[in-house]
């Protein structure tokens, strides 16, 4: 009888352990969704500095309606994150910062596939077209759609760990951008209309992935840039009306040089000498290939 009781207790304990083990993931999947909307009218702000550190979810940026300095609509799971938002002004400069704080300071995510799920947080940020803005975005893992056409961006810095990112400048930047800096870890990355960004200097750093950089747009000034690529395919698209010079480093990388002339230290388009606007790119690639396209 004693053995039977011991056996029964063991069995009950095993079953309980199994139930707890099975229930634990279910319990951890509960959500506590909150929506936070913060907006501010222009009201005396002459320049805007925005620093956003976003964690996991869907991120979108677009122009705001007239008269609005910014609008930030955030949907987040209060079980995982706590939005820390700060605002201060210094003369005509307004500084906005958003950080998604976690309980232990670390952000856990199960891979980029999770960003395809509807069960994710969102951040929709809209910015004034009129106010010159310095925008810095850090994203851990997100599906990002950054619609930056027409925004008055003096500087744009975007860093992402693993994400599917689409950046679009579909309208010219009304102000000159001193630096456009993009960095992606493992990502499917696409930036189009970069000519409209009106940058002085362009920097892209990519570790692994499929990267498409489209430099078409309304080029008003010459610029230079540097692209550092680890592993993957880099597709570059240029408008034919600007002069392009590429200085490539990395012998393991294939380069489709059609449309370029092989010159000392790199490749350049035939119109380089006569072009009124020029783009000089240093490309350092590890392993992969570089495809170049020209559009009229």
């Amino acid at each position: 009888m004693g053995n039977l009781m011991r056996s029964a207790r063991r069995s009950a304990g095993l079953v309980a352990a199994l139930l707890v083990t099975a229930a634990a993931p279910l319990a951890s999947q509960t959500h506590d969704w909150f929506e936070m909307s913060s907006r501010r009218q222009v009201d005396g702000v002459e320049r805007l500095d925005i620093d956003v550190e976003y964690a996991v979810g869907h991120l979108a940026i677009s122009p705001a309606v007239a008269g609005l300095l910014y609008q930030m609509d955030l949907r987040y799971d209060a079980n995982d994150f706590e939005p820390i938002r700060t605002w201060n002004t210094d003369g005509g400069l307004g500084r906005l910062a958003l950080q998604m704080k976690t309980e232990d300071g670390d952000i856990e995510f199960g891979g980029i596939d999770e960003t395809d799920s509807d069960d994710m947080g969102t951040l929709d940020l809209s910015l004034s077209r009129e106010i010159p803005t310095t925008l810095s975005l850090g994203v851990v893992a997100a599906q990002a759609k950054l619609h930056l056409g027409g925004l008055a961006l003096e500087r744009f810095v975007f860093r992402t760990g693993a994400s599917e990112t689409a950046i679009d400048f579909d309208a010219p930047n009304p102000v000159r951008m001193d630096r456009l800096e993009l960095a992606a870890g493992a990502a499917d990355f696409e930036a189009t209309g970069l000519g409209n960004a009106r940058f002085d200097r362009f920097e892209f750093t990519g570790a692994v992935g499929d990267v498409r950089l489209d430099f078409t747009g309304d080029w008003k000034e010459s610029a230079e840039g540097e692209i550092r690529m680890g592993l993957g395919t880099l597709s570059l698209t240029f408008p034919r009306d600007i002069g392009v010079r590429i200085e490539k480093q990395g012998f393991l990388t294939s380069f489709n040089s059609a449309g370029f002339e092989d010159v000392s230290g790199g490749y350049q388009t035939p119109n380089w000498e006569t072009a009124t606007r020029r783009l000089t790119l240093k490309v350092r690639a590890g392993l992969g290939d570089i495809d170049v396209y020209f559009v009229d």
């Binding site: 907006r39 677009s62 949907r75 929709d124 395919t233 992969g288």
Partner: protein, 590 residues
């Protein structure tokens, strides 16, 4: 705004203050409320009940200045009851109180509505617990004792309004006003507060019976604030205006200070020189309105189109688990994004990812799949090893059957699979056979994987017999049952391994990979089916095919049978032996 509501007794209001103090203490005791909650507790809500409703309701807001605001007595006294009248009918239960100052107070439950001095103050369930308690009170002889009546009414505690009516609190509030003990307590709790904090303030008195709602809203406030800990609500000082009902600030009015909206709709045409805190209700800023501060909304609705707000407009609300964020920046932006997405999707269709662009993704997926296949190989081999170790003869018998007559075993296995559910249904329907159901399920659950292992064993043996160079190279051509099982699983899982390797090439060989996976799945199913059939034919390995194709109880070691089976195989190859014919003649010994 309900302007038809009658005045409420001033002492009754002070009694409510006493209650609110209790709520505030309870609220701040459980969670450390920020200043905003304390502000509401200490001044704002106190202010609400400290003013007669008609003062704000009947005067334009612009006129409700410090000079015009009525003063509040610091030491209130309970009204003296000089007489009472009770009226009870099937629909109505009314108490009329004659006051010493010549006034009269009427509390009436009438066909589901609670009427205080004729004004509708809430609902109750006719015939419900509250209705019954009320009628019982009115029938009490003590009601006729005028001297004891104030304490009797104040001590009366009707049942909670579990029936959903909200008139109970209205009646309770009225009765509290007659309690001199409560009034004295209120005077101790807030000495002079009502006189100093509310002077020069504009207030809107909430409807009677809304105190419970207010307490509930404070709970919501606590929760919301705890969600956004770290937020600093810069609501300084007292509230200049506390709104708990529909109200309008016209364009000639400037509110000099912070405003709290607790319910109803606050329409602003004029100017607010301070922050606005919305805990509920709708804040509607008309075009031309000006707010010189922040707007914080916790659960409320804020409309600011055309108005000027110098500070931040912050909204925080909890959403249901199923709700998706519907927030959008603007219609134009949405349209632009729709177009952008469409163009981008089109571009994706015409562009290929490319080999190198996906190589790391492909490598990781390929390695992951290969590891998965290896894990399956190890796991299945371990199962096979266990079976070989504990029941070699039965396993060999099933394997021999599968190898000797694949088609027959497959057919029997397929029939067994098709008949699985009908037999199960039969066992369930025939009540007597219920006890067999668990054994039936267990037998099938064991038979299918055991048969699969047996087929792997047979397949591995066949491979070894072929003496492939590849197996020779890795020294896998050993005449050993364990090796047979391992080799068999290598063959059965090979399509999955090949598919994993093909993953390296991504889209280029996607079709071939899919085809290979399909072959692997079909092969696995065919092997499991064949093994299942062999298990059935051999009665779980209890019968063994002998050299003549007959079955007998397994008693002959497999090695002794091997020459016979090899001979049989040679006969098959030369057409000298007809296995099907042999099976037709099969007999069971014993």
């Amino acid at each position: 705004m309900n302007q038809s509501s009658p005045l409420r007794n001033e002492k009754e209001r002070v009694s409510m203050i006493t209650r609110l103090h209790g709520w505030m203490r309870a609220a701040s005791g459980s969670v450390a409320l920020p200043r905003v909650a304390a502000t509401i507790a200490a001044a704002g809500l106190l202010t609400i009940f400290a003013f007669p409703r008609h003062a704000a309701a009947q005067q334009p807001a612009a006129e409700a200045t410090a000079q015009n605001a009525p003063a509040v007595q610091e030491t209130p006294a309970a009204p003296e009851i000089s007489g009472s009248t009770v009226l009870i009918s099937s629909d109505v239960a009314r108490l009329e109180l004659d006051l010493a100052d010549g006034g009269r107070q009427t509390i009436e439950l009438n066909d589901g509505r609670v009427l205080i001095d004729g004004a509708d103050r809430g609902s109750y369930e006719p015939g419900g617990a509250f209705d019954r308690a009320w009628r019982e009170l009115l029938r009490s002889p003590s009601v006729d004792e005028t001297a004891e009546l104030p304490e009797l009414l104040a001590d009366w505690v009707p049942p909670e309004a579990v029936d959903g009516g909200n008139g109970r609190s209205a009646v309770m509030a009225v009765f509290d006003g007659f309690d001199p003990r409560a009034l004295a307590h209120a005077a101790r709790e807030a000495p002079g507060a009502t006189a100093t904090d509310v002077s020069g303030r504009v207030t809107i008195v909430p409807r009677a019976g809304s105190i419970g709602q207010l307490a509930s809203r404070l709970d919501e406030l606590k929760q919301a604030l705890s969600r956004i800990s770290g937020e600093e609500f810069d609501v300084d000082g007292d509230f200049a205006l506390v709104v708990h009902d529909d109200y309008r600030i016209d364009d000639a009015t400037t509110i000099d200070g912070d405003v709290a909206l607790l319910g109803g709709r606050l329409t602003v045409d004029g100017e607010i020189d301070g922050d606005v805190l919305v805990l509920g209700g709708d804040l509607d800023l008309e075009p031309g309105a000006l707010v010189m501060g922040d707007i914080r909304s916790l659960g409320g609705d804020v409309e600011t189109t055309g108005a000027t707000v110098t500070g931040e407009i912050l909204k925080l609300s909890a959403v249901s688990p199923d709700a998706r964020s519907g927030v959008s920046v603007s219609a134009d932006a949405d349209d632009a994004w729709d177009r952008h997405d469409a163009e981008r999707n089109y571009e994706r269709r015409v562009r290929s990812r490319g080999f190198f662009g996906s190589i790391t993704h492909n490598i990781s997926r390929s390695i992951s799949d290969l590891i998965g296949t290896a894990v399956w190989l190890i796991a299945l081999t371990l199962v096979g090893v266990v079976l070989v170790y504990f029941s070699p003869k039965r396993l060999n018998a099933v394997a021999s059957e599968a190898r000797a007559d694949v088609l027959r075993s497959f057919g029997v296995g397929l029939a067994g699979q098709l008949l699985f559910f009908p037999i199960l249904l039969l066992l369930v329907v025939l009540i007597v056979t219920w006890l067999v159901v668990p054994f039936y399920l267990l037998a099938v659950a064991i038979a299918i994987p055991a048969g699969y292992v047996a087929v792997a064993r047979a397949l591995g043996e066949a491979v070894v017999d072929r003496r492939y160079d590849l197996f020779e190279r890795f020294n896998l051509n050993r005449q050993n049952t364990y090796y047979y099982v391992f080799n068999g699983f290598v063959v059965l899982l090979a399509p999955f391994a090949i598919a994993a390797v093909l993953e390296l090439f991504g889209g280029w060989l996607g079709f071939l990979r899919g085809l290979t996976l399909f072959v692997g799945v079909v092969l696995t199913w065919a092997a499991a089916t064949t093994g299942f059939g062999s298990v059935i034919i051999t009665r779980g390995g209890g019968l063994m095919r002998d050299f003549r194709g007959f079955r007998r109880k397994r008693s002959v070691p497999l090695d002794d049978l091997r020459p016979d089976m090899e001979q049989e195989a040679q006969d098959d190859a030369t057409g000298g032996a007809d296995a099907e014919g042999a099976d037709d003649d099969e007999v069971e010994n014993g």
